[in-house]
């Protein structure tokens, strides 16, 4: 049953009544929505503002938005998303446990594969590079809680804006090939992953994530040793990081060191209690009526984000405002992005840039012009090749899997 849902695409689970309310509120603008206490699609005014946020330059990184320094959590300023690939030094950073490994000797680094296998393996970085076929994929890496800071009602947690994501070319080896070398015994159910980071307190649950065996062994999940053609920055998980294309980055284990094949479901805090979403098609619930059942977050929902210029742009009557954005989903690829300037009554297609593969984001552009003065709110809606599109209302208690149609405010003057 859960498997079934895990594989479902994300058709709108929103009622027509909700939709009508949303569109009416969108017509009123963000202030109207906020005044009426509606949650879901907020004016970008409520977004944590890059300009007002402290910047920091950490090792191997350029100036990024400081979210927390211990453990390090850094957000990428939006303008870095104007290119297909996000530079390594601008790539967002997110650690859970403050005890990062601060020294790594690549000559001695070992990746352990154990558990329900015929032969437990201890692989060196050299062996990974030389004994397995290298593969590459361009894929979006997005934090489950990306954009949490703009959820309304607000929810506790890391208050990300839209920059807890990036798109990179990942190079490494197929997990499937490594598992085959170890020889998986019949009856494997899940595979768990652990890195070298530890908590300051021994009583804190170790950060371990698990994938169902069929996902882990699908030939797409990778152990990456390169990001955009270079070693991973230490803050992004050097020397090895799990890559789970199409899935949220909570599974993309950094400083990957332990892979364990399990003949029973994994039990642990980070799967059983944390990183869970409402058990329904759109991971939606309301503060008044929380979902009774939850499941682990997994495949990314379709999104489209305004990237450039920043919101609250000004443009003259009949002048052009060239907008840029990115859109992506959980792996079917982006079919179209549409823009509305009349609260969703009519939609016009944005221009899509060439695709770098279905796990990559797809950049889009749109030229907006208006013959009349006044405030305008633009909406961006993406549709994936699998037919999944975006909803007008979306909220959950943990601020995960944001997929709501985003706004961009402009003043025509």
């Amino acid at each position: 049953m859960e498997n079934e849902l895990w594989n479902l695409n994300n058709p709108s689970g929103i009622s027509d009544a909700d939709r009508r309310t949303f569109l009416r509120m969108a017509a009123l603008g963000g202030a109207g929505m906020a005044a009426l206490g509606l949650h879901g699609n907020l004016s970008a005014d409520d977004a944590p503002k890059a300009a007002a946020r402290e910047m920091v330059r950490m090792q191997e990184k350029t100036d990024l938005i400081l979210v927390t320094d211990r453990p390090p959590q850094l957000e990428t300023p939006l303008h870095y998303f104007r290119t297909d690939l996000t530079p390594n030094d601008a790539f967002f950073v997110r650690w859970h446990l403050a005890g990062l490994r601060t020294n790594i000797n690549p000559k001695k680094y070992t990746l352990n594969i154990s558990g329900h296998v015929n032969t437990a393996l201890k692989l060196s970085l050299k062996q990974l590079r030389e004994e397995f076929e290298p593969v590459s994929v361009v894929a979006v890496n997005q934090c489950s809680g990306n954009s949490r800071g703009i959820f309304e009602p607000h929810v506790p947690g890391t208050q990300w804006g839209n920059g807890a994501m990036g798109n990179a070319r990942w190079t490494g080896v197929r997990l499937k090939d490594v598992l085959a070398k170890a020889g998986v015994k019949a009856g494997a159910m899940e595979v768990s992953f652990q890195g070298l980071d530890v908590a300051p307190l021994p009583a804190t649950p170790a950060f371990i994530k698990a994938l169902q065996f069929d996902r882990a062994n699908d030939g797409e999940v990778m152990i990456a040793y390169e990001m955009n053609g270079a070693d991973l920055p230490m803050l992004n998980g050097y020397p090895l990081r799990l890559v789970v294309p199409g899935w949220y980055s909570t599974y993309w284990m950094k400083t990957l060191s332990e892979i364990t094949v399990l003949d029973q479901p994994f039990k642990g805090f980070w799967m059983d209690k944390a990183y869970r979403i409402p058990y329904n098609k759109t991971a939606n619930e309301t503060a008044e009526k929380l979902a009774e059942k939850t499941i682990p977050i997994h495949r990314m929902c379709v999104r489209s984000l305004f990237v450039f210029p920043e919101t609250n742009a000004r443009v003259g009557v009949n002048q052009s405002l060239d907008l840029e954005g990115v859109a992506f989903d959980g792996g079917s690829g982006i079919k179209e992005v549409e823009i509305s300037s009349d609260a969703g009554k009519t939609w016009a297609k944005a221009d899509l840039k060439p695709s770098l593969g279905n796990y990559s984001w797809r950049r889009w552009s749109f030229r907006f012009q208006s013959a009349t003065k006044g405030n305008v709110q633009l909406l961006a809606r993406a549709t994936s090749n699998s037919g999944e599109t975006q909803n007008e209302i979306h909220w959950n208690r943990s601020g995960y899997q944001r997929g709501v149609i985003e706004h961009f405010d402009a003043v025509v003057e």
Binding site: D69, L100, L235, Y238
Partner: protein, 114 residues
């Protein structure tokens, strides 16, 4: 003479092909040096509030004060849930009466944000 020219041509061709191959696939040099990560601490003055010393004594072992200062305005119940989670799930050894003091601090500094 002709033969030696042929050999030279063949040799030049080989070099040429090798060069093309080299251009297509540059030999990757693997950096095998010891990698050291210097963590960056960005000092922040903790928010002032009642029981600040209890908060500092118990909470910043695992995380920076920014974990509190970044939060949106939350209810007392939500803050209580957070502290309970730190104790029960993350294993913070905080005595019950101190946990209650910490919640008071959190609510006070968080409400001041409004």
């Amino acid at each position: 003479m002709i033969r030696s020219m042929k050999i030279m041509c063949a040799f030049a061709l080989m070099l040429f092909i090798e060069q093309i191959a080299a251009e297509e696939k540059p030999a990757k040099t693997i950096d095998e040096s010891l990698h050291i990560l210097e963590l960056t601490v960005v000092e922040q003055k903790p928010l002032s509030g009642p029981n600040q010393e209890v908060y500092l004594a118990n909470c910043v072992t695992c995380h920076t004060t920014r974990y509190v200062s970044m939060q949106p305005v939350l209810s007392e119940k939500k803050w209580g849930d957070e502290v309970t989670k730190m104790v029960k799930v993350f294993g913070a050894p905080i005595p019950e009466e101190q946990a209650a003091q910490i919640v008071k601090y959190l609510v006070a500094v968080n409400t001041n944000k409004k």
